[in-house]
Symmetry: C2
Subunit: 123 residues, 2 copies
């Protein structure tokens, strides 16, 4: 799969899972993974999953505006840079966000998320 197709497939999988059953995202992270969520740093798959599951809304819908990808170096990693908006229940206006992922190949031929940085873009 070429890098652009792979990044689109990852992004679709990530946000569809987030919006339908975000506890399933734990499988995308490993113990070395790090999430920066609105400036808070969280390390490890279980801690990251706990953070995502504790967000104070049950339903949400991510709409993706742009996806950029670049190879991150000789080890076969990929950097993804996503922008879009996030619709929360009861909110009239969607929230704009940007998020980046650093994907690292696994021995099984897949990828896991090593770095994840999320920020809302306040107007």
């Amino acid at each position: 799969m070429d890098p652009d197709s792979l990044s689109k497939a990852f992004v679709e999988h990530y946000y569809t899972t987030f919006d339908s059953n975000r506890s399933n995202l734990i499988g995308l992270y490993q113990e070395s993974s790090m999430l920066s969520f609105e400036g808070e740093k969280i390390q490890g798959a279980q801690n990251i999953s706990n953070k995502l599951n504790s967000l104070p809304f049950q339903q949400c819908k991510h709409n993706i505006s742009t996806v950029d990808c670049q190879p991150s170096g000789p080890a076969g990693g990929m950097l993804l840079f996503v922008s879009g908006n996030l619709q929360l229940p009861g909110e009239e206006h969607a929230l704009k966000f940007s998020q980046m992922f650093h994907l690292i190949p696994t021995a099984q031929g897949s990828f896991y998320v090593f770095n994840d940085i999320f920020r809302l873009n306040y107007a």
Copy 2:
């Protein structure tokens, strides 16, 4: 220098240079460097410098809102994620932007920009 101090110093240096004499940014890139600028991919220090120099404004002012940093792996790289706004001459409203940098250590003990992804955040 700890990672947070290093990233703040890089960000200050990068945008101060951009706003005062952006042709000097060429020294931060190498031949393997890649810039994605609003979806356009450009590789190599000279090509990246040409792109930045060709942007259709002479004066600008970046104001930084947030800087996140994470180590990018065992090789000592650093990922920076920046949000802020960009004031252009003659424009009443500043443009919001997000940008990420992947910094790689050099043999000389400094860092160069391996990955650079820039996006305006349209309202």
